[in-house]
């Protein structure tokens, strides 16, 4: 691990957030958590992140809307995003590609896959 990245995990499911934190911390990254899309936006305003890993289906503000928000902000426009989803709906893929979010992690994912996707997304 050459350098540690600052990664934000957004998911309404506590267990999945904890899993991602444990795996990525083990990989040497710093991890922040948000339980809702709105909490995530507040954290992103206050801090800068190298990567956002977000669930798509969330109450109130879903993952797609969250990333749309990021893309409108000059400061966060280029932040890479990994979507975690249980859905295999092709429409979601199309929409996420439009948001320049090519990285997908299908539930239930393995820890190796998570690390692999994070490495890919960070471009290292």
């Amino acid at each position: 691990m050459s350098s540690a990245a600052h990664i934000l995990v957004v998911d309404d499911d506590d267990s999945i957030r904890l899993l991602v934190r444990r795996v990525l911390e083990k990989a040497g990254h710093r991890v922040a958590e948000a339980g809702t899309g709105l909490d995530a936006l507040k954290l992103i305003d206050a801090d800068s992140f190298d990567l956002v890993i977000s669930d798509i289906n969330m109450p109130e503000l879903d993952g797609l809307s969250l990333v749309e928000g990021l893309r409108f902000n000059e400061r966060t426009r280029a932040v890479p995003v990994i979507f975690i989803t249980a859905s295999e709906d092709p429409a979601l893929f199309a929409k996420s590609v439009g948001l320049k979010a090519r990285h997908f992690l299908n539930k239930p994912f393995s820890t190796e896959k998570l690390v692999e996707k994070v490495t890919q997304a960070l471009g290292r």
Partner: protein
């Protein structure tokens, strides 16, 4: 639809009763009519017969009495001819002594064309109770002379020579037996009290009998006044019939007597010179028959009443099962598929009841199958949601299992295993929620709080709504208990919620409320979708009616939901303001 929709105007029981009553009354009336006719005819025949026998019997008595007296008088006459007056008087006293009823004996001898009295012997003692004197008796020969000169070849004449007010006297005149055209040489006349004859004609309680001579004059009659007055009864129809009868010696007839009708018989007596008549009052003759008929009618009416009473029970035995069957039909229409008409009779109605029961069971089976298939259709709509929902705990389980496998730190391994256990439990709950709903249930009604019922139902569909991007708000109010098949009510809720989610789409809001309205439990599902057009609203509960594109719905969801709620004795109502969403109300009767 309901049993009240078709009112029974004239019950089958009443019809049966009227039929049985009419049959009974008809039979009874026919029987009474025939019985009355037969009995009347029989009684009339009997009365005529009795009359004839009475008349004949009286004739024989009169005849016997007449003949024996005639013989004695003839013997006296023959003995007296040629004797001295003293000897004749001695013979006459002997004759008087032979019978207490005899009053006087007179003996006449022919002297040329005239009959001369040779001897008159009176027993004066016997005149005392009659309150007459010997002189008065002698006076009779002047006032009512004996037909001494006109005696024919059969010289026997009977006369009523009563002396009012109290002396009943019958005179018998007997002459010497001679050839045709000759006149007897002697004549004996006897005056007597007709005690024995009167006894014979005293009459019974039912008949009247009397004796008249050839002129119709009374010789013996139970009416003492008629005898004392020597009344002529030529106006009496039987006397007229006898007098007009010529050679006929007896007859019967029915005739009026004042306001009564008499049945009479007559007979010629004493060489045809006397007439015996016996009469019976027709009403008296038929009194027994009338009593019998009256009794029969009374017994008949009692029997008809008893038969009607019995037939009320009999009719009940017939119509009771029909009534129960009718009630069972109403119960079936109201959704009670397990209804038992409770008809055990071995007849056609019993068979019908069994068929009815079988039909109800088959209907229930069909209903259960329909419910199940519609439920599976609903379940299919949930399928994606289930998969999705279960992937979250599965992800956690998989990840933490991997972490635990590679873990060095016991505390971290412990944490991983704890999370795995918790998430496994979550999987189990998700699966159980769906399985409970998917399971084929028997529709048994269970008492349950409405709020618990609604929350259990929401568990099944909440995630589906969440991933559909629909916001679900739940407002639980006063929560009374209802008695329902929970699974079926969940099916209704799911149907309404999924419909609402489809109507609103992503970003929509669904509000579920519970409460009480008009004494019933209420569950409302409101959405802020486009609402239901006014022309569609009345049709939404029709089977196979759908506005969704082909393949997106069976068109049975709301129809089945409507059926389920109605089966629970409740009501499913839809309200909508186009453009402002729709509200569905499930109203259920409170549990007892």
């Amino acid at each position: 639809m309901s049993a009240n929709g078709h009112r029974i105007r004239i019950s089958l029981r009443l019809k049966l009763l009227v039929l049985i009553g009419a049959l009974l009354l008809g039979t009874m009336a026919g029987y009474l009519f025939l019985a009355l006719r037969l009995i009347t005819q029989d009684r009339l025949a009997y009365a005529f017969d009795l009359n004839q026998r009475v008349a004949a019997m009286l004739s024989i008595q009169v005849q016997d009495s007449l003949e024996s007296t005639e013989e004695r008088l003839r013997l006296f006459g023959e003995l007296a001819v040629g004797r001295s007056d003293a000897e004749i008087e001695r013979l006459a006293r002997q004759l008087l002594a032979s019978d207490v009823d005899l009053l006087r004996v007179s003996f006449f001898l022919r002297e040329g064309p005239l009959m001369t009295a040779r001897c008159r012997v009176v027993d004066e003692q016997r005149l005392v109770p009659l309150e007459i004197s010997a002189a008065e008796l002698d006076g009779l020969d002047r006032t009512r002379p004996l037909p001494l000169a006109s005696l024919g070849s059969e010289p026997v004449v009977v006369l009523n020579r009563s002396l009012p007010p109290s002396a009943l006297i019958i005179s018998l005149v007997v002459g010497q037996r001679v050839g045709p055209g000759e006149q007897p040489a002697w004549v004996v006349a006897l005056d007597a009290v007709p005690t024995r004859v009167l006894d014979a004609f005293a009459g019974g309680s039912t008949y009247v009998a009397y004796l008249v001579d050839a002129s119709g004059t009374v010789l013996a009659h139970p009416d003492r006044a008629k005898m004392l007055g020597a009344v002529r009864l030529t106006d009496e129809p039987p006397v007229q019939a006898a007098l007009a009868g010529g050679g006929i010696t007896s007859g019967v007839l029915e005739h009026a007597a004042g306001d009564r009708r008499l049945l009479s018989a007559w007979a010629r007596v004493g060489h045809g010179r006397l007439i015996a008549v016996a009469s019976i009052d027709r009403a008296a003759a038929l009194a027994a028959a009338e009593r019998l008929v009256r009794l029969s009618a009374l017994v008949g009416v009692a029997m008809v009443l008893a038969a009607l009473l019995i037939s009320i029970f009999a009719a009940r035995a017939v119509t009771g099962p029909l009534r129960r069957l009718s009630a069972a039909t109403a119960a079936l229409a109201a959704g009670d598929y397990l209804v038992d008409p409770k008809v055990r009779s071995g007849d056609e109605i019993g068979e019908l009841a069994q068929d009815f029961k079988r039909m109800a069971r088959e209907l229930r089976d069909a209903q259960v199958k329909l419910l199940q298939s519609e439920k599976l259709a609903t379940f299919g709509q949930l399928g994606a949601g289930i998969t999705h929902e279960i992937k979250n705990p599965l992800s956690a389980i998989r990840g933490f299992a991997q972490l635990a496998l590679r873990g060095r730190d016991p505390a971290q391994v412990q944490e991983s295993l704890e999370i795995i256990e918790k998430e496994t439990q979550r999987c189990l709950e998700i699966v159980q929620n769906f399985l409970r709903f998917a399971r084929q249930d028997k529709g048994e009604r269970v008492r349950v709080e409405v709020n618990a019922l609604v929350q259990d139902g929401l568990k099944i569909v909440a995630h589906q709504l969440a991933i559909s991007g629909v916001k679900l708000t739940v407002e639980l109010g006063d929560a009374p208990a209802v008695s329902v098949a929970a699974n079926q009510i969940h099916q209704v809720m799911l149907n309404l919620l999924l419909n609402a989610a489809q109507a609103t789409g992503r970003g929509g809001v669904i509000v579920v409320r519970t409460g009480v309205r008009d004494g019933r439990a209420e569950i409302t599902v409101s959405d802020n979708g486009p609402g239901i057009p006014a022309d569609v609203l009345p049709r939404i509960f029709e089977p196979f009616f759908t506005t969704k594109e082909a393949g997106k719905g069976t068109g049975l969801g709301l129809s089945v939901s409507y059926g389920i709620v109605r089966d629970h004795g409740g009501e499913l109502v839809a309200e909508s303001t186009p453009g402002a969403g729709a509200t569905f109300r499930v109203l259920l009767p409170l549990a007892a």
